[in-house]
């Protein structure tokens, strides 16, 4: 977006884009036959802020050395990532019509061998932050000033590997590493606090040596504020943004329910969902604060 744009205009633009992407996620879930729609809708605003305002990247040169790096540790968020990657120009959106089909580059989890713009294949939970630690260490070795962003689900914080990575990121003083937790409070089997309690989550990260920000992950102003407040990459402490979100955000019957971790939409349901999202968009969106 142009530098002259006012903050209100930026937030409005990003909110509109998030609303458009939610519709794309719903359409893609229908095309794919099924998908991780709940977690896709909870991370949409964060993803849109990153790809339309925060990240430095070049879709014509996915391996651009100076670009920021984004690792989707919650790989099941692929259903949300792919429409964004298409929209920003990594590949034509029509390619997504093959989603989940035989020989498609696109499936439930992002595949770096097949999708331009995907740094590393993810899907097995808990790996992303460790990989991000390696990327961040490498960037420092190269005196590069790009950042490494790693978006995690909250459920995957059950994995011990995340905390090995968290410990090492603080130990190695990785000021160029930014973790984001999509804190939607639900994993496949139920509420995180019932399945495996994560709270007090902010204190956990703090005690591991991270700088912690807790925000409303659907308030676009708060999201971009948190990214803009990041310390310089030369800093000596990694940052984690705990984004409090709602699983299934934007679709009334999907919000905060276990049933829509993963699901399929028939044509009728798809149209119903699109109508709801469309009416919210006309009314000013879910993201304009």
């Amino acid at each position: 977006m142009a530098d002259t744009q006012s903050r209100e205009e930026l937030i409005r633009f990003l909110g509109d884009k998030a609303a458009e992407m939610r519709e794309n996620i719903v359409k893609l879930t229908f095309v794919a036959g099924s998908g991780h729609i709940g977690g896709g809708l909870s991370m949409t605003d964060i993803l849109v802020a990153l790809y339309y305002h925060v990240l430095r990247y070049d879709p014509r040169n996915p391996k651009w050395p100076e670009g920021d790096r984004f690792i989707l540790s919650k790989g099941h968020g692929c259903i949300a990532l792919c429409p964004v990657l298409a929209d920003v120009g990594y590949f034509p959106a029509e390619k997504l019509d093959t989603f989940n089909q035989l020989d498609s580059p696109f499936g439930m989890h992002p595949d770096c061998n097949k999708i331009p713009g995907v740094e590393i294949s993810t899907g097995s939970l808990g790996h992303g932050l460790s990989i991000a630690v390696g990327v961040a260490l490498s960037a420092r070795l190269d005196n590069a000033d790009h950042r490494v962003y790693c978006l995690m689900g909250d459920g995957e914080l059950d994995e011990g590997l995340i905390w090995e990575a968290a410990m090492s990121a603080a130990h190695f003083k990785l000021g160029n590493l930014v973790g984001i937790v999509d804190r939607n409070g639900l994993s496949l089997d139920g509420f995180t606090e019932d399945i495996m309690a994560l709270e007090p989550l902010a204190q956990k990260w703090e005690s591991f040596g991270w700088r912690v920000m807790t925000i409303d992950g659907h308030d676009m102003g708060a999201i971009i504020d948190s990214f803009e407040k990041l310390p310089p990459t030369s800093g000596s402490q990694p940052t984690v943004i705990i984004a409090r979100t709602v699983k299934g955000k934007g679709v009334s019957f999907m919000e905060n329910t276990i049933a829509w971790h993963y699901g399929n939409l028939d044509e009728e349901l798809r149209d119903q969902v699109l109508a709801e999202l469309g009416s919210k968009r006309l009314a000013g969106g879910t993201n304009h604060g």
């Binding site: 590393i120 790996h127 460790s130 990327v135 490498s138 070795l141 990575a165």
Partner: protein, 329 residues
């Protein structure tokens, strides 16, 4: 550096273990390529990567006792254009880190070099928790993975050297102790190309790792008894040198495999697969751990118990030679 132009020079090699040689050559290769980074998990004093840490502190990363984090972080280095050498015990590299190796490294075909020490039963009294008698089978089953079990310190240095600019991930398993040298520096080594150490037409021993020295020793002793034993160092289990296997099977008709590993899935398994695919029947015996967990004891005692020493290999060779004779009658 131009491809294949890395060099190493270590003196007094007979006094060094494979891991000590690894520590030394890694520093030399580090001087020749700024892309090399070295990762370990609180074992630098054991796997001798400490030498690299002193020479290139900026390119050395100790992850503490957190092998999976180290292995996944190696992925991060590799997708950033580095060549990570990752070292821990073979049991941890192959089993604790199996999923990181498979999904994060092998699937995207990243140039991570896993140098796994204390393989087989070289940890001796360390017992089953610290033995690795499954690692070759595990690594061999990962698509894109190159799997190497060098015979001695010289071959370890050659394998490390050849791995630097080899495409995709490489797993190199070495022992702990000071195994007798099979090779002097300067011999012809190539990943994927078996080396015939002793000619003979009565039977063939395919060996890897410490069993190579014992196999050659067995061949020299059998020569005095009039048995011609071909000894082939099959240092690269994958990609396997099919031609060497098929030729030996056709020319000698009797094969013994010797490896410090479960007899399932490693060297013996790999050779059996090649023979079955080629439709070649031979008298065949696999030496290794017969689908059991190894015991506590010194490596020498354990190798002897499971026939991986000179005497054990001689017994196995005589067995297959006798069977071959009966088959022909």
């Amino acid at each position: 550096m131009a491809k294949g132009s890395f060099t190493w020079n270590v003196t007094d090699m007979e006094k060094l273990s494979a891991r000590e040689t690894y520590g030394k050559v890694l520093v030399q290769f580090g001087e020749q390529s700024n892309d090399i980074v070295v990762l370990t998990a609180d074992l630098m004093l054991s796997n001798m990567t400490v030498e690299f840490s002193r020479a290139f502190p900026d390119r050395f990363f100790n992850f503490g006792i957190a092998e999976t984090n180290m292995m996944a972080a190696a992925t991060g280095f590799a997708i950033s254009g580095k060549i990570p050498f990752v070292s821990t015990f073979a049991c941890f590299a192959s089993m604790r880190c199996c999923e990181q190796v498979r999904t994060d490294i092998a699937y995207p075909k990243l140039p991570v070099r896993i140098v796994a020490t204390h393989a087989g039963v070289s940890h001796g009294a360390g017992g089953t928790t610290h033995h690795a008698t499954e690692d070759l089978a595990i690594m061999r089953s990962l698509a894109n993975m190159t799997v190497i079990a060098p015979a001695d310190a010289t071959e370890t240095a050659e394998a490390i050297k050849s791995s630097i600019d080899y495409p995709g991930p490489v797993y190199i398993r070495i022992g702990r102790g000071r195994e007798p040298l099979v090779y002097q520096p300067g011999y012809d080594y190539e990943i994927g190309k078996a080396i015939t150490l002793h000619e003979g037409n009565d039977a063939t021993v395919f060996a890897c790792g410490v069993a190579v020295w014992a196999a050659r020793d067995a061949a020299q002793k059998l020569e005095t008894e009039g048995i011609g034993l071909r000894v082939i160092d099959l240092h690269t289990l994958k990609p396997i040198d099919k031609e060497a296997v098929i030729r030996a099977a056709r020319e000698t008709g009797a094969i013994v495999t010797a490896e410090e590993h479960n007899i399932i899935g490693g060297l013996g398994g790999a050779i059996a697969e090649v023979l079955a695919d080629a439709g070649i029947g031979v008298c065949f015996k696999r030496l290794g751990f017969p689908d059991v967990y190894s015991d506590i004891g010194s490596p020498r005692e354990l190798l002897s118990r499971y026939s991986l020493d000179t005497d054990g290999i001689i017994r196995a060779v005589k067995d297959v030679v006798e069977k071959k004779a009966k088959t022909r009658i």
